[in-house]
């Protein structure tokens, strides 16, 4: 059987004495393998630590998030809904069904006070009533102010509503800065950082 010649051909391959000596010097190679494994373990450990740190970074802000919240009835991804405002996020306000005004709800467990409780934004009237904020458009003039006075209202307007949160000693512990803005007839609100 010709393929049996493979056995003869390969059988001629034998270890030389030098090779035997080199192979049996296992300690050096073992140290090398250990070092390689050590590097791998260090890499894996570093990656695990990085993942844990990243997870902590992701969850810590949630742990530090304030107890208070500002909620607005606004345009969400599935249509109009109550949305808890996140710092920096700007939302387009929507009117609740059957309501003539926009509405925001403040949920602050402790004591707080508004630095100002009324804002006039062009013809719009924004005011505070307890833990709710109302925004009535075209509230000040029932006839068009531009026709009456010749004054052209700007297309883009904004103002700030400040809410100061107090502790038991009436010391300010937190400040909520809420930007209300009107752009081309649309009303927006943004919780500032």
């Amino acid at each position: 059987m010709e393929l049996e010649r493979l056995k003869d051909a390969v059988g001629l391959i034998t270890l030389s004495e030098e090779a035997k000596e080199r192979i049996l010097n296992l300690n050096g190679r073992r140290m090398q393998i250990r070092r390689q494994r050590g590097r791998i373990y260090k890499g894996v450990t570093a990656a695990c630590v990085a993942v844990v740190l990243l997870a902590c970074m992701m969850f810590l802000p949630a742990a530090d998030s304030p107890e208070w919240s500002v909620n607005a009835y606004a345009q969400g991804t599935d249509g109009a809904e109550w949305i808890r405002l996140k710092p920096g996020e700007r939302v387009l306000l929507q009117k609740e069904e059957g309501k003539e005004y926009y509405r925001l709800k403040i949920d602050i467990p402790g004591r707080y006070w508004y630095e100002k409780d009324i804002i006039i934004l062009g013809q719009d009237h924004i005011w505070v009533d307890g833990d709710e904020i109302y925004w009535l458009t075209d509230a000040l003039f029932y006839t068009d102010v531009e026709e009456q006075t010749g004054y052209k209202l700007p297309e883009v307007m904004s103002d700030y509503l400040y809410i100061k949160i107090l502790d038991e000693d009436n010391q300010i512990t937190d400040l909520i800065r809420l930007e209300v803005s009107k752009e081309y007839g649309k009303c927006y609100v943004q919780l500032k950082d």
């Binding site: 493979l6 390969v10 034998t14 090779a19």
Partner: protein, 162 residues
């Protein structure tokens, strides 16, 4: 840690080395593969059922280490077959060994186990952890590929009636 590593090396060293040389086509890589196999053996804590189990385990570990090295060599090609010709006095045997080494790794391992180590199909399948039908297919394809190469090279006469 095992104390009998030297004894094992003297018993199976050449067998492991031949396997590694055929698989890798490179002497120094083959020596490293044998050395790594012995280190794996030293660190292996489970007992072997019998001597045949130990031998099959060593072969499987050696082949797996060679496969790892082949993966590395794919990225860093370094064919050094020329250095192996020192083993051959008869040129035909040298060519045969070289053609075997040119086969794809999966065919090479099966032909090596069957024709050189003398394992049957079932044993080859167990050692390489593949099915018996896979062994048969690889063996047939490996033989065909080897025949094509022999015919193409035209170096030696070959009786294919076996």
């Amino acid at each position: 840690m095992r104390e009998d590593v030297e004894e094992i090396f003297f018993r199976y060293g050449n067998m492991l080395y031949r396997t590694a040389v055929v698989m890798l086509g490179n002497k120094s890589d083959a020596e490293d593969a044998v050395q790594d196999t012995l280190i794996r053996y030293m660190e292996h804590r489970r007992e072997f059922k019998d001597e045949e189990h130990r031998k099959a385990w060593l072969l499987r570990v050696c082949i797996n280490l060679c496969k790892n090295r082949l993966l590395f060599k794919k990225r860093h090609p370094q064919i050094e077959f020329a250095e192996l010709t020192e083993y051959y006095e008869k040129s035909e045997d040298g060519w045969l060994a070289e053609l075997l080494m040119r086969l794809p790794e999966s065919y090479r391992a099966v032909l090596m186990m069957y024709y050189v180590m003398g394992y049957n199909i079932r044993e080859t399948a167990r050692i390489l952890k593949i099915t018996e039908s896979a062994v048969k297919k690889r063996m047939e394809r490996g033989r065909n590929r080897l025949r094509e190469m022999v015919e193409k090279e035209g170096i030696m006469e070959w009786n294919w009636n076996d």
